[in-house]
Symmetry: none
Amino acid sequence: MAKIREPLFDLPITLPPKASRDRLRAVHAQLRAAILDGRLQPDTRLPSTRGFAAALGVSRNTALAVYDLLLSEGYLVVRPSSGTYVAAISPRPARRPPGESEADGRLSAAWRRAQPVLPAVDGSFRFDFRLGLPDKSAFPFPVWGRLSARALRAWSKTAAAYDHPQGRPALRAAIAKHVSYARAVSCSPEDIVVTAGAQQAFDLLARILVTPGRTVVAVEEPGYPPLRDAFTAAGAKLAAVPVDEEGLRVDRLPADARMICVTPSHQFPLGITLSARRRVALLEFAQERGVVIVEDDYDGEFRLGGRPLDALQTLDRAGSVCYVGTFSKSLFPELRLGFVVAPPWAHDALVAAKACADWYCPTPSQDTLAAFIDEGHLVRHVRKMGKVYGERRGALLRALSRYGGERLQPIGDAVGLHLAVKLSEEIPADELVSSAAADGIRLHALERYALGRPAPNGLALGYGMIPSEQIDAAVARLGQIMSRLG
Amino acid sequence: MAKIREPLFDLPITLPPKASRDRLRAVHAQLRAAILDGRLQPDTRLPSTRGFAAALGVSRNTALAVYDLLLSEGYLVVRPSSGTYVAAISPRPARRPPGESEADGRLSAAWRRAQPVLPAVDGSFRFDFRLGLPDKSAFPFPVWGRLSARALRAWSKTAAAYDHPQGRPALRAAIAKHVSYARAVSCSPEDIVVTAGAQQAFDLLARILVTPGRTVVAVEEPGYPPLRDAFTAAGAKLAAVPVDEEGLRVDRLPADARMICVTPSHQFPLGITLSARRRVALLEFAQERGVVIVEDDYDGEFRLGGRPLDALQTLDRAGSVCYVGTFSKSLFPELRLGFVVAPPWAHDALVAAKACADWYCPTPSQDTLAAFIDEGHLVRHVRKMGKVYGERRGALLRALSRYGGERLQPIGDAVGLHLAVKLSEEIPADELVSSAAADGIRLHALERYALGRPAPNGLALGYGMIPSEQIDAAVARLGQIMSRLG
């Protein structure tokens, strides 16, 4: 029989028992699957419902119903006075120039070379000097849990709403009060925009301040790569400006810079505090030229000794500074909350950019954080952790002097969650990092943070993840490894 | 004349020539500026639209439209049986010296005209047909609270970490399983990128797919303004494509479109389901030209009757479709979680863009949601709310037919959280909206969602915020108002 050769009949269709009400559904599902995965090709002519029913051993009514269903779903099409055909929904290669990949034809140029983001290497490390992570083992989770449950209960009784992109008023008030107290940043709740961590703050500022292909943005060298990524994505032309023992070399700022991104409290990653005269020079540079300063105060709350300098924002009289704060270091990064203290001219654009990016930050988390700050838990936790990090920093400095000697020179000031060290030339940092990893010690080389080469030969040692009592043993091992290498 | 003393009339309002289409805009902008800079103080009572029109020498329609616009933007509030007042917006300090503004010198061109994002007008409304918000009164908050506490406890015992930008593996697995089951979207956890709501999904897709100034993006007309905002911010050239009773007019897609944003399950705001043949035609168009389709399935889970059509993603065999889902309608918007089901060629760029935007979504929320889905609560809640919304839709249709008659014609299919209606020509939607507001009924006119003018004359009635038993009374009042107007 001719019809036997029609491709449809080659399909292995499994039927439920006769008279089952599921027969229609089973036949429909199998035909549909065959069309979707290309076993039934577009433009394949289907047999008549009579032929189909006979071939499968189903009733004519079932066959009619299956065809109707597939027609109504668009899997089949009827061509008048010709018959029923499989619709053109199967794979058909997109027309694109040869050699161009699917992604190239569709992605904008800036994103075509995107590398897979890999999961962080997790720990078969005995000793972890990873950067940028706080110790959350001493965090008052029971308090947080209680405030979180309370915020959820209170909020669950309100009607659903789209919150204001700028952030919950109670949280903005709490942040304004906190940074005025803790960092002498002068602001009102109106100046605060709540963001999904510091990263979103950088991203929103890049969006509203960068004209793609034109705006020159000065960044510290070495500096913080995710900030550079946000500005590069926005189309900025980055200008790497060196850092010395007083911090950013203001005299090396390019004349055409329209923005300057800087970490004055604790230079990332070198750990240097921007000197008072550099602060003044930087603000003068910005004010004279209408340049915007992005002040990233990522871990400046942890002052572990010495006298703090005021934030640039505090000194600024010309609305040049956008101050970025985060709760990723003082609380924990998984909260994803940070903020910008923005000068008035930036308010509308920044809030509009936030609305455009993701509307607003999750309400219950904002309310929980507001209560946590208001009830004094943030200040208490920062004070407690400041002592813990201060001890660790002390232990690290002692161990470095004991086992490192001339080969490891600490740099930077007693602030924050990490300590940078210079390595002597005969010990290349990348070799030390890989030898240490083989020995169960996680380290980060400074070159990771540098745009240019040669990068500074050294390490940035985070002490957020390593308890005080492990530090001596870890650095002792580092000393042994260095002796093998140097 | 007494009214001359009302503060409004002391405002120097400059009018463009009579019959100019810009009169409305000019009056609106000047009133808005006066409210923002404090010349019109909060709680100032405005004259009637009639008095306002007479005093300024504009038509009554212009006056009505200006009031309506300011009401919908939150600058004015209506106090039932009292009148229209300036809302309690705190005036900002006068901005800056004349000449080039601070913002102009610093903000990139795209953001210089950013308007203040105002708080949503909150409710002195007795009847609320606001769009896009689910009813959260029946949400199982005790369950959510329990899962949330459990997720926090489990997670608090782990070391601090920077999570993977793609999203927590448990949540991606739960979402993949859920959309396969609920929406026949074929995907694996590897295809899912967790985002801060659908808005971030649009924003990330715009970033990776739009070449500024070049990429033509087809959007539905009328359509969803925040999606348009995200693509405009990325530098896209928007092409408005009309919608008819079968959904998007595929034959009207511009030949140079590189992306098409579409709401096939329930067109926003008209509520139409894209027909099967249009689906096929749309996919053909996309496949032949290597065009990317952004399928926004914002409330397609709530099918309130009738047989569902498969998602475009299900039919797509060429990796053309990026499917965007959200938990803002099925759970609540304040959670700020949504997702993209992305074809493989887009994975790396999308994850890199997410990392650049805000690194990753908050960990405890992701873990809570994963457990909520895994334990079946999402499916149960959607089923329960589907019944609730189905009843409300039924009540609304009955009331519309009883009190609206010829003047109100429902359009669209039985899906989702709102119903669109066409108004007969003698009742302008904006007049109906402002008269209804004065009577304690919140409505949204369809023109709010249109790019072009004239916009369709009609309403989009959300039933997420109004209980079934209020619907009849609300529509009865609407009927009375229409009789006054029409």
